[in-house]
Amino acid sequence: MAFLDSSTAVIDAILTRKGRELLARNDGSFQITKFAFGDDEINYQLYDATKSTDQDADILNLPVLEPISNENVALLYRLITLPRGSLKIANLQISPTSGTVGYGTNLTINVSTDNGEDSQGYAATVRDTDIGVLTNTTSAPDVNGEGVFTIRTGANAGGKAGQTIVDITGINSGARKEFTLTVSASGAAA
């Protein structure tokens, strides 16, 4: 007979920059109501099926980074709940798949979900807000399950040309897609 394992891991969380901002607002928007798990540092290719035991030893030995306060990169890859035997996970379809626009031109991205659904919609962030600014950071799905994001550039953003990434996430599915945005310098003030 063995002892029952009653251990519960206690781990400390840090506030993200968004969390600090919402806490400072003191308007109730900070209240934590949901959670998600992530596995950002994991490389599943390290799983060694040729071993008879401990096939995942290399994965379990991976070092884990300390938490990052930038909410845009603190949790990239969410774990998901699917029925046992699933062979596919949700996959975001974005259109266009990348974009090059003139300085000051708006760009629209359409997003939908294959192999699943995102009934709560989609969330998006731009990594360099000097190059592009989203008019909406969340988008509810329309009757066809499609969300829409609009990005402003040029003087309507931070006034910078160049390339940046837009991260789009399905709120339910956790599926992610990166959209590469290029804003040409043409038309920018010298």
Partner: protein, 291 residues
């Protein structure tokens, strides 16, 4: 599903954590290190305030007096404050100890202050604080500073939240007169000379209040066994799961994200080492957040 709701009644514990820190200041150097400043001021002072670092500032002492008079005592006559022991007579002179925010933290603990003062050639007097029973002022909880040997002898007022002690009274017959001429000074460290008031030592406790929430974050056996990690996906365009993971779906938890109702990531915690999760296991993490 990649984001779950907490059952706020079952999964979340909210508490307040109170940290107390004891301080005892026995010298001018210690006072400087802890950002304690002492000065004497008159409504008619022509000098300037010297800060805790010993540097003369551009703030006139008369302006400091008006500030104390208006802010702490709501005095309409800016050049007078009530005398501590009777609150009828007024005075144009007082002595002050201010404690910097880095030492005060959130507040001075009421009932924790003890100071020993020298009055010229007289025997030392011990002063303590007596907090008011209910908060009546607009500047937070305050209390009387009284002589320990005779607590009816009120010599001043302490404002706990700002860490300010104003000495604006004292019974002459008990040699606790803080209203003597400003030229006699008000300094830290023993060794008062005739006509001087010295703070031999002063001790107090500061309070730091933190909110602590613990979120019991559960991954039941049927949950969170698949991953959006690109290394777990065989074909990104199709979303097909790597064949290694289809037989016995397994995930490895390294990160726990806490979200608000708008799905904004407000806090994040990490596990080390990665925690293995599959259909045969359940995991519970107590995620602690202090702010």
């Amino acid at each position: 599903m990649s984001i779950n709701n907490y059952d706020l009644g079952r999964d979340v514990i909210n508490t307040e954590v109170l940290t107390k820190t004891n301080y005892e200041i026995t010298s001018a150097t210690a006072a400087q290190e802890r950002s304690l400043n002492s000065f004497v001021m008159e409504a008619t002072s022509t000098g300037f305030l010297v800060n805790a670092k010993g540097t003369t500032t551009s703030t006139p002492l008369s302006a400091a007096f008006r500030n104390i008079s208006n802010y702490f005592f709501s005095s309409s006559a800016a050049n007078r404050i009530p005398v501590a022991q009777n609150n009828v007579a007024t005075t144009g002179i007082s002595r002050v100890i201010t404690i910097g925010r880095t030492t005060v933290d959130d507040s001075i603990l009421s009932g924790s202050v003890t100071g020993t003062f020298s009055f010229g050639t007289q025997a030392n007097k011990v002063i303590i604080d007596q907090p008011e029973q209910s908060i009546s002022g607009a500047v937070g909880r305050k209390g009387d500073l009284v002589e320990k040997a005779d607590t009816t002898n009120i010599v001043g007022t302490i404002f706990y939240d700002s860490g300010t002690m104003v000495f604006h009274g004292g019974d002459y017959s008990r040699d606790t007169n803080f209203l003597i001429d400003s030229a006699s000074g008000f300094t830290f460290g023993p060794g008062a000379t005739a006509g001087n008031v010295a703070i031999n030592n002063i001790s107090f406790i500061s309070l730091n209040m933190l909110k602590r929430s613990v979120f019991f974050t559960r991954a039941f056996n049927q949950e969170f066994n698949y991953s959006n990690n690109p290394t777990a996906i065989a074909n990104a365009s199709l979303g097909s799961i790597s064949s290694n993971l289809t037989g016995m779906p397994t995930s490895f938890i390294t990160t726990i994200g806490l979200y608000n109702n708008s799905n904004e990531l407000v806090a994040v915690a990490k596990t080390a080492p990665p925690v293995k999760k599959n259909f045969d296991t359940e995991k519970v993490f107590a995620v602690r957040l202090q702010y």
